[in-house]
């Protein structure tokens, strides 16, 4: 029990490698009010990850003082993670942006201006760019954290108003490969099933996901299922890094980074070789396809293709701890369980062949018939609270219009123009720049004005130093809407303060096709405003400055509406009643009236209020559960795969060859580098870094190193280590443990400190199909620079 001060300091130094200089981490008395003291509880959804936990905000004297989970919710059953418990502290935080700020030159200091002046400037600069350089010289870069109403209105003004499809958002960086996978395998985006399968599953196949830290509440559900049925339920965790998720695993498959396509094919080989396929399901509902031209082949061709991935061959490709026996064992567990749920996130999506990796997981579910039935699903976990609802469904990417319509399809584009009441031809037929192309265009001087909403690409883009050169250009005008200063506001000309969650009203749509309403419960600080008000007022000025009445048409239905409820409700009504009606994500029954009455929102398709009041569709494509499956039924089969991308109404099993990462380790850069999240922080930590408990719990990023590598290189815990790639370097304290596989290092990506921003080091290669970057794998080298050094947490602060 005894521990001398010397020993204490020694231990803390080894763990934190830090001495600490003061930092503004306020914890005021008013933020310590206990839950029992509140005046009232206000229902909404969590602001952070994509799980969609239902929460209640405790308000006392007009201030947010507590958060708690909603027990009756089907997403979280009352549970919250530490971020979900504490994000109320961000309402009224002293570092919130509260006034519009402007500087003509990026060399100048910011000055406070009025909203009138700010909106005039934003309009003038976008209008100037359009007049001088054309419609595609302007762009919007949004967020999977923006409300659906916000993303929808931004993209409407950009497309029908400014006549450009340069509409993108950070979901391109996290789930675009999942979208590509669902569309090419199942014919429609987003998962077939629901979280409800977790409590019925007999096997969990968790690959490329540290669920315990990235989706803690879902992990809690999986953990409960496993612990309550220890022998009955198997958990397979496949990841080059042993993580907290691995603690509940019956088997951890630790393969070398980028070799999982071979692993997945090998599991399919075993399933076929041992006669574990669901022949009836496969014959009835699946076809086999190969190549860019989607050529259909037969089952025998698929079987022969898999001969390159026998367990013996695959184990040699995969390396790590992978053996033929392990592959056989997990393949049997997967196929014979009677209900397997696969879950994955960025380890699969953020890859040069992310779409293919998604396809190969789906393949396993198709050939074993582990779909459309209780306890079985191929479930891509989404990282942000509204990447699905706002961006995937609301038209927030350059190639898609609202409700899963492709820009390039004339018929669908004209539908949207007609529904919006703008002339046909107003929306350009060509998709805009995808994210990496968009920031390349900024570098090249092709984009002259950009609006970044609720995200920080200056920190979150791979190889960010390269793209930050473009953001720093004096001939590039940047508007940023946010609640706190970030690495991106450092490049802005105009910073507009926005209302935070529960300070405005709107809908988030989470991983499982579930839309949930959060109503305003507290006032935003200072002059911060909801984005929907900002966009509406900006559009009216654009119409004036460009002398183009059609721009005003895009916001005319919303003119004069009160901004806290009427305005977002009117936007939601237009989107759901006009744009989603009759589409596969039909939300026309999920009105604000219905959403306000539900404990946990509504899952689409939900074509009527009556159906929405029952919760919507729990399983897609199943007659009797999904009203569209019944409506679009073509035969007697219980499952109807009516997805718009597969005219043959079949599930597609893909023959995709194994491909490794873009950049492999070599003699110069001998290590794999991978990056990821910790439980305490969210994205770039601009929010979680300002909650004292969370910042203290993980004050700065580390580089995790396998003990065998550390010993060879003379690196001890806490030593300062340079992590260098062909693009840039970081200087990080070392954490030495049996986490990453030997030959790989792992770095957390939330840290804003210049020397610890790991996206300076990551590679900007991207998937040719989804255009999602390969954050998860690149080559690097590491070297010990010194013993522990003083470090301190860092957050960007407003200057001037």
């Amino acid at each position: 029990m005894g521990l001398s001060r010397r020993e204490f300091i020694k231990r803390t130094a080894a763990l934190t490698a830090a001495s600490y200089v003061g930092m503004n981490l306020p914890l005021k008395e008013e933020n310590r009010a206990q839950a029992s003291d509140v005046d009232g509880w206000h229902r909404g959804v969590c602001r952070l990850c994509g799980t969609g936990c239902r929460v209640e905000l405790g308000v006392k004297g007009g201030k947010a003082v507590a958060l708690r989970g909603v027990t009756g919710s089907r997403t979280n059953m009352g549970y919250l993670c530490m971020k979900g418990m504490l994000f109320y502290r961000l309402m009224g935080h002293p570092e919130r942006l509260t006034k519009p700020l402007y500087r003509a030159s990026k060399k100048d200091s910011f000055k406070e201006i009025s909203w009138d002046e700010a909106l005039d400037i934003a309009s003038r600069e976008f209008a100037r760019a359009v007049r001088k350089y054309g419609n595609d010289s302007v762009a919007y870069y949004g967020s999977g954290q923006a409300l659906t109403e916000e993303t929808y209105l931004f993209q409407k003004v950009m497309r029908a108003g400014l006549q450009t499809n340069n509409v993108e958002g950070n979901p391109r960086l996290c789930m675009a490969s999942a979208v590509g996978g669902y569309i090419t395998s199942f014919g429609a985006d987003e998962p077939i099933g629901s979280y409800a399968n977790i409590e019925k599953a007999k096997c969990f196949f968790i690959i490329g996901s540290n669920t315990a830290e990235a989706h803690p509440v879902l992990f809690r559900r999986i953990m409960r299922r496993k612990l309550d049925h220890k022998d009955e339920v198997k958990v397979i965790n496949a990841d080059p890094r042993v993580s907290p998720t691995s603690r509940i695993a019956d088997m951890h498959l630790q393969f070398m980074p980028g070799t999982d396509l071979a692993l997945l094919h090998s599991m399919a080989w075993v399933i076929i070789d041992e006669g574990l396929t669901d022949r009836e399901f496969t014959e009835k509902y699946a076809v086999f396809r190969v190549g860019k031209d989607k050529k259909q082949v037969d089952f025998d061709t698929y079987k022969k293709f898999l001969d390159d991935y026998t367990p013996e061959k695959a184990s040699r490709i995969c390396g790590g701890n992978i053996t033929p026996d392990k592959i056989r064992t997990v393949a049997r567990w997967f196929a014979k369980s009677g209900g397997t749920v696969s879950l994955w996130t960025m380890g699969i999506n953020q890859r040069k062949r992310g779409v293919w990796a998604n396809n190969l997981i789906h393949n396993l579910h198709i050939i074993t018939g582990q779909l459309c039935k209780p306890g079985a699903d191929s479930l891509s976990l989404t990282g942000q609270p509204n990447a699905c609802g706002g961006v995937r469904e609301g038209g927030g990417l350059c190639h898609i219009l609202p409700a899963h319509r492709l820009v390039k399809k004339d018929k669908l584009r004209h539908q949207v123009e007609d529904l919006w009441g703008v002339p046909r031809g107003r929306i350009p037929p060509k998709p805009g720049y995808h994210t990496m192309a968009m920031f390349t265009a900024v570098n090249q001087g092709k984009i002259k004005a950009m609006w970044v909403n609720c995200t920080s690409p200056a920190q979150s883009l791979p190889n960010c130093d390269l793209y930050n050169k473009g953001l720093a250009r004096e001939d590039f005008f940047l508007v940023v809407t946010d609640i706190f200063p970030t690495r991106t506001t450092e490049y802005a000309n105009l910073i507009l303060p926005t209302a935070f969650h529960f300070e405005k009203t709107g809908v988030y749509g989470c991983t499982e096709r579930r839309s949930q309403l959060t109503r305003k419960a507290v006032n935003a600080p200072g002059d911060a405003k909801p984005e929907v008000w900002i966009v509406r007022e900006w559009a009216k000025r654009l119409s004036r400055d460009l002398n183009d009445p059609v721009i005003a048409t895009t916001v005319k239905p919303f003119d004069g509406l009160e901004e806290d409820y009427e305005l977002p409700e009117a936007i939601w009504n237009e989107y759901t009643q006009k744009l989603t009606r009759g589409r596969d994500n039909d939300l026309s029954g999920a009105t604000y009236r219905v959403l306000s009455r539900m404990d946990d929102g509504v899952q689409w398709p939900a074509p009527t209020e009556e159906f929405a009041l029952q919760g919507g569709t729990v399983i897609k494509f199943v007659k009797g559960y999904d009203p569209l499956a019944t409506k679009h039924s073509k035969d007697e089969n219980p499952y109807q795969f009516y997805g718009p991308a597969h005219p043959d109404r079949k599930l597609w099993v893909w023959l995709r060859p194994h491909k490794g990462p873009e950049e492999m380790p070599d003699s110069e850069y001998p290590f794999y580098l991978s990056t990821g999240r910790v439980i305490d922080h969210w994205h770039t930590s601009s929010m979680t870094g300002r909650i004292i408990e969370l910042m203290r719990s993980n004050p700065y990023a580390y580089v995790e190193i396998n003990p065998a590598d550390a010993q060879r290189l003379g690196i001890k815990p806490g030593d300062m280590v340079e992590v260098e790639s062909r693009r840039g370097s970081n200087l990080l304290p070392a954490k030495v443990y049996e986490g990453p596989v030997k030959g790989m290092v792992f770095v957390y990506w939330y840290d804003q400190a210049e020397s610890r921003m790991i996206n300076k080091v990551t590679k900007d290669a991207y998937d040719p199909g989804s255009k999602e970057p390969e954050f998860k794998i690149c080559a690097c080298r590491i070297r010990r620079v010194s013993g522990p050094r003083p470090l301190k947490p860092f957050l960007v602060q407003m200057k001037g």
Partner: protein, 126 residues
């Protein structure tokens, strides 16, 4: 500062004893524990995750937590005990209610959560 560390260890000992016999502790002791403060640490020391020290200082408590569902689910010390400025040896029960509100509302009157669910292990009712 040596005195601070001694206080710190004493507080940890009190917490450990409290965890072991919370079911029999009378209200007076409980109030005294609730009022206890974490000993003062420097700003640097405050950047150390609680578990990093308590793994060695209160190994039994650490192990109970680590093996529990809270440990598996990474429910961390500060979620119940607060951080240094609002540290409580004996948590306010409303922190339990953040995740277990229904159980909190229906719990037997006069009983605290850990009277029935032993602290840090949080297994079924005693």
């Amino acid at each position: 500062m040596k005195k601070n560390i001694c206080c710190f260890l004493l507080a940890c000992f009190v917490a450990a004893v409290a965890a072991g016999c919370a079911g029999t502790a009378d209200k007076k002791v409980s109030d005294s524990m609730a009022a206890a403060r974490h000993p003062e640490l420097t700003d640097q020391e405050k950047l150390t995750p609680c578990a990093a020290c308590h793994r060695d200082i209160t190994p039994e408590i650490y192990q109970q937590w680590y093996d529990s569902r809270h440990g598996l689910g990474k429910v961390k010390c500060f979620q119940c005990h607060g951080t240094y400025e609002n540290f409580r040896v004996s948590p306010d029960e409303t922190s339990c209610a953040a995740c277990h509100n229904a159980q909190f509302q229906h719990a037997a009157k006069g009983k605290r959560c850990w009277d029935c669910h032993p602290a840090h292990g949080f297994v079924a009712h005693r």
